[in-house]
Subunit: 370 residues, 2 copies
């Protein structure tokens, strides 16, 4: 985003959402919501930095001194209140909140706001009821505009090229951490602003742990290896998983991989405007169940991707949300065999007028590497 024009329009959209939700004030911490709204954010930390958006009237920002220049340089349409290391930011927050405390309505908290700050916000708005800002933010953020989709695509292209580069070299003998480092270096050299999340390289039996990250295990011939990684461009994330094998795969690995691939394609084919998110999940799940691996697919089919690597819409059983144009989410069915191996194939897709448009394009094949 660029400039106060976008920020003003987005804050106005938040205010309309708050009106509909009967909320008085929405409070944001350092988060992707803050970035979406005012073009500034950072990793959350122990210093209180809050954006308070009242349903009517001007927004307020409470900012530690060492962030003040950066926040001011984005020219947010908001009054800025600075506190200095050693001062009590809770007192400043109470003062600011007092000026916003007009109609006694509900207060919305940024979903990822730390409890350390949420308790201060609750103190500053005594007697109110509290809800989550996602009720207002999720619908706004789920539909990506053209510039957001372009950033998702650039981030995906960098991840694609990193895959081709890293799997074109031998991986046997590397530790998982070293291979993860190569993927990350390739993305940064390829133009990424940063990696999107801690790179996952799960080899051999570790590949059966869906959320294992990367460790000191050395990759050996015969290993199945899941790579799951991504980068950021202009704040927007890529997220791709491919399963490779070090030397010729066993028949069992080939069978499982083929089933996961079919599940992935079935889910992608189900991505049509107006379809419910749970139907996309079911499409993948049905294929794996028919193949006899239903109980091996222990996670949802996907998650939204944007400024956060995990955000709505979630592609999961029970989510009746209808797909809309511009929604971006992962499709990542998998199957896991404890102590042996796992397989996962993931692309982020964007919902277009004629179905899913993948943001990553390298082949799904079970690539045999050295």
């Amino acid at each position: 985003m660029s400039g106060a024009g976008t920020a003003g329009a987005r804050l106005d959209a938040v205010r309309r959402g708050m009106d509909a939700a009967g909320a008085a004030v929405a409070v944001f911490g350092l988060s992707s919501n803050m970035r979406y709204l005012i073009g500034f954010s950072d990793e959350p930390g122990e210093r209180m930095l809050l954006l308070l958006v009242p349903r009517s009237g001007d927004a307020e920002i409470v900012v530690p001194e060492l962030y003040a220049d950066q926040v001011e340089s984005t020219s947010p349409p908001a009054a800025i209140h600075v506190w200095t290391d050693g001062e009590d930011p809770g007192a400043l927050l109470k003062e600011v909140a007092g000026g916003l405390d007009r109609d006694g309505g509900r207060i919305l908290l940024d979903d990822s706001l730390w409890s350390a700050f949420a308790l201060l916000v609750q103190d500053a708005f005594p007697g109110r009821s509290f809800g989550l800002a996602s009720t207002v933010m999720a619908p706004l953020r789920a539909r990506k505009d053209e510039s957001e989709i372009a950033a998702l695509k650039r981030a995906g292209g960098i991840a694609d090229r990193a895959y081709l580069e890293v799997t074109g070299e031998p991986v046997s003998g590397l530790t998982e951490t070293q291979l993860a480092g190569r993927l990350e270096a390739a993305m940064v050299e390829g133009g990424a602003d940063a990696i999107a999340f801690e790179t996952l390289v799960a080899s051999g039996p570790n590949s059966a742990l869906p959320h294992y990250r990367a460790g000191s295990r050395t990759i050996r011939p015969g290993d199945v290896v899941i790579l799951d990684y991504g980068c950021r461009v202009d704040g927007y994330c890529s997220d791709i998983s491919r399963t490779i094998v070090c030397g010729p795969p066993s028949d069992e690995v080939m069978r499982v991989h083929a089933a996961v691939r079919s599940a992935h394609l079935a889910a992608r084919d189900r991505v049509v405007l107006g379809v419910r998110a749970e139907e996309v999940d079911a499409a993948a799940r049905d294929v794996l169940t028919d193949a006899g691996y239903g109980d091996r697919f222990v996670h949802r089919t996907g998650h939204g991707v944007g400024l956060d690597v995990h955000e709505p819409p979630y592609i999961v059983g029970g989510n009746e949300q209808r797909l809309e144009r511009g929604m971006a989410f992962s499709i990542e069915p998998g199957a896991y065999f404890a102590g042996e191996f796992g397989v996962r194939i993931e692309d982020v897709v964007v919902v277009g007028g004629s179905g899913a448009v993948p943001m990553t394009e390298v082949p799904h094949e079970l690539k045999e590497v050295r």
Copy 2:
């Protein structure tokens, strides 16, 4: 840490702290506190994973299915309750909380617990008062034991070697992001498990922004460049800042650098058992004030470092906490001149019997690079 023995001892220490604080249950999310207590954690995400520690009785873990194997493999001394994507974790939490709801006492929330989960915890313990788990955790975690200090030292050594490697090559012509990527790659190749935080490379006028990260700016001859980075080993972080200059520095830059260096050494010399944290801050601040740069030093002198890159004790005016053996924190005075340049020099030190022991050891000099 290794095994249930350590976890059991640490949970017992938490229970003693809760007793003293009059707390009934402490609730932890995916955080360094969870890692400290049960040897498992991950980046926080939208799936609810909570550790509930009652003052008396067994701990309980509410875990999403895809984390269940990993949590169980750490053999935590706790009952494990699994929920599956598509189920309502809030309902499971209420059930578990009901079994712990014995004495109506205060509930402690992990400081970094997301509001999305904190509101569910508040719902699950209706009518209680809520406080922060740091009241109990900070004193436990601030004093590092020998194995923790050894990990801090290994992480520091890797950061030292990355500095020597990267600044031994020309940096002029690289973008900030590329230089950050080199530091990160050097740390991973050097044996780091991961980087500790997004690497900061601030060149030219960007170096005047204390929390600027790294961007597309190309480093040019004449630039002052602040490098601020670190890595993790066994969960423990290093954090180092050095200021380098691309070609010969101006007299002004040399003057400011010399003052910041003196401030750093004055603070380090003040690190003595029993001294108050604020006195260490004052030692650095006094030197910069005497040099005429008092108003350029816009942040605190330091922060604790351990499993978190920022944790107690904070080396800041008003913190009367006394230094104890094993405390680990950064000393990082700086001076910033908007639109021109900035200087910062940072090491993490551990409080030993005879003063500060630095975890990073490369020289503080204003290194001239190509």
